[in-house]
Each structure stands twice: as C-alpha cells, then as structure tokens.
C-alpha cells in the first residue's frame, strides 16, 4: 500500500517542486496539497495522510500551530517539517508541536527522501543536530 502524502507550502512553485521530488519515488503518492496551515489541518482531517510535509512560515496559520492541531486531531498522520529555519530554537518548537521529522530546505536534495521514508515508518528524522529538540520530540511522543 502506498504512503499517502499531503504537501503544504504557501508558494506554488515550492509545492510543485516537492510534488515532483516525492512523486518520483515509487510507493509514495502525493494525495493533495495545501497552501496554508488552516487548509492543512482541514485536509489532514479529511484525508488522514500518512505523512504531512509541512512548511512553517505560512499565512493564516503557521506550520507550528497546524502541526499541533494535526497531531491532536489526526494522530495517525506524522508531520515532517520542511523549512528554511535552521535554528535549534525552531527545531525545539517543532519537536514540542509534535513533528516527527525536520528538514532544512537547503538540504532537501540530501534529506527529503530519507526523511519521508523515516517519518512514514514513525521514525524520527533530523533531530540529531540538537539534543534538546530530540528530547522534546521524545516528550511529544508521550502526549
């Protein structure tokens, strides 16, 4: 059975790029896309994707808030944050919000496929750079 992915980013060109990168992997299917956090929460509730690839900086509702709500409303869906923010603080916040993986956009070529693979198997990805974020991630697993 294919891994079902929801792609969320406010920039259409980035969504298109993500869909192209993810769609080239056999066994994965991009089932839909969303352009802001609120739409991501709505579509996650309707579609229950296996993985939500989620940007942070978006209009209407940020990716962090969307992550919290997705994890609360649709716990079966794992969240992989894909963001420009390469900072320990942001990683901590993403971990606390319940994200399973964290990829910095400048490393997408290297990390995206491995990150989706890991998160689809409910494994953490990308937290090694920051111990606090990883511990927050473990804490959030208990919620």
């Amino acid at each position: 059975m294919k891994v079902r992915i929801l792609v969320v980013d406010d920039h259409p060109v980035v969504r298109r790029g993500l869909k192209s990168l993810l769609g080239s992997h056999s066994g994965w299917e991009v089932i839909d896309e969303a352009s802001d956090g609120a739409e991501a929460v709505d579509k996650s509730g309707q579609l229950i994707p296996d993985v939500v690839v989620l940007d942070i900086s978006m209009p209407k509702m940020s990716g962090l808030e969307a992550c919290r709500l997705i994890r609360k409303n649709t716990p079966a869906s794992e969240v992989l944050i894909v963001t420009q923010h390469d900072s320990p603080q942001m990683m901590r916040e993403a971990g606390a919000a319940g994200a399973r993986g964290y990829v910095v956009k400048s490393n997408i070529g290297r990390d995206l496929i491995r990150a989706v693979q890991a998160t689809s198997e409910h494994q953490p990805f990308g937290w090694d750079q920051d111990r606090t974020a990883r511990s927050d991630q473990k804490s959030s697993d208990l919620i």
């Binding site: 920039h11 259409p12 060109v13 790029g17 993500l18 192209s20 990168l21 963001t83 400048s106």
Partner: protein, 232 residues
C-alpha cells in the same frame, strides 16, 4: 525548434518546481540547471539558452551580478530575474544590469510562463510595481526611479562586487582568490580597495553593506504570517 531555457536557483526544490512548471509548456525545454550565479554564467556561455532564469539571492555570485556578467559577455541574452522582493533598489539594479523580465517568486507560478512567452516574442515582462516605477521615472526625469533614486554610492567594479559578496558570505581572502582564480595577493588588494572606497574598517561593515544593497540575502528565523520568502 524548441525554446531552450536555463534555470538557476540554489534551492533544489525551487529549481525542480520551476522546471516542472516550464516543461509543461509545449515547445519549451530545460537545457540546463545551475546552482549559483557562477554556475549559471558558465552554463549560459556553454549552452547558449534562448532564455535564462536567474534567482537574485544565490551564493557565490548573486543573480544581479550574474546578469551583468552575461550581458557584458553578450547583450543578446534574454534574462528573467526572480526575486523575493520588488524593492526599488532591486528593480533598479535588475533593469540596469540588463534583465528583460522581473518576476516575484511568490507569483512565479502565475507569472513565469507569461514572462517567458513575452521574452520569446522579444518583449519584456515586469510586475505592476516595476511598470509603475519605470513610468514614474520616465515622467519625472527620464531616469528609472527618478527623484526617488538614492544618493550615488562609490563606484565599484564588477570584480569588486564579486569580492564583496564572497567576503560577506564569510570567505577568507585566500578562499576568494580560489573561487575567482586570482592570486591571494590580488584578492587582498581588491579587499583593501573596497574597504578604502567604502570607508569601512571591518568585515562587519562590509556584511551590513552587502545586506543593505541586496548583494547577499539573509534568511530570517522569525515566524510571521506575512513572511514572503520563497524559502520559508
């Protein structure tokens, strides 16, 4: 015969998005991809594309400097610059460098195909903001930007602009020399000349100058609902 397009952006996901967007257009093909301005200049010279699409905020050599280099090499290049901002200065520099198209990254999915089509017909493509600025400049003094033009800065050479970007990105004089295929002594001379011309005494001053003049772009860690960076 297909229209051949070179796409340059340092972010793979954006490049991929741009390529899929353009490849979907009948009669167009991506003849090459570049990961920074220096790579773009080399590939444009080698591949001779019909249209070059250059991101402004690229490492090593930014899109505006790459535009200048290409236009100096051959004024026939048709270049579209992609930017995250249509601030006056960026517009002014893009037009001055010789770009014939100006597209905001946030609007790329809507405007880029139209921009390439315009250049294909030997026309130009600008955002409404650019059109307003050009018109205002024309009505004012016949200069782009007109009376809003900032005070003139010390005249720097194209090579000095390249050195500023590399230094501001954190490279040492030795590394600058390596990237630009110069001797370390020549790179240090460029560095000294730049500091003297701009009246700077530290690299910090240089970094601030580079940011203020869009020679490099910095990403923000702040999360705001209105942020428009393509790489958010």
């Amino acid at each position: 015969m297909k229209l051949r397009i070179l796409v340059a952006d340092d972010h793979e996901v954006v490049r991929r998005g741009l390529c899929t967007l353009l490849q979907g257009h009948e009669g167009w093909e991506i003849c090459g991809e570049a990961v920074d301005g220096r790579d773009a200049v080399e590939k444009a010279k080698a591949l001779k594309p019909d249209v070059v699409i250059l991101d402004v905020g690229m490492p090593n050599l930014n899109g505006l400097a790459a535009t200048r280099q290409l236009m100096q090499h051959d004024a026939g290049y048709k270049i579209i610059v992609l930017t995250i901002t249509d601030a006056d200065q960026v517009i002014r520099e893009a037009l001055d460098a010789g770009a014939r198209g100006f597209v905001l990254k946030s609007d790329a999915a809507r405007d880029l195909v139209s921009a390439v089509e315009a250049l294909q017909r030997n026309r130009m493509f600008f955002t409404p903001r650019v059109n307003e600025m050009v018109l205002a400049g024309f009505l004012d003094k016949g200069h782009i930007g007109g009376k809003n033009e900032p005070p003139s800065l010390p005249k720097l050479t194209a090579r000095e602009h390249e050195v500023i970007q590399l230094l501001a990105e954190g490279k040492s004089s030795k590394e600058v020399a390596c990237v630009l295929n110069l001797s370390t002594k020549t790179a240090e001379t460029h560095r000294s000349n730049i500091m003297r011309k701009l009246g700077f005494h530290s690299i910090r001053d240089l970094v601030v100058y580079a940011i203020q003049n869009n020679i490099i772009q910095v990403q923000t860690s702040q999360v705001t609902p209105t942020e428009t960076s393509m790489h958010s």
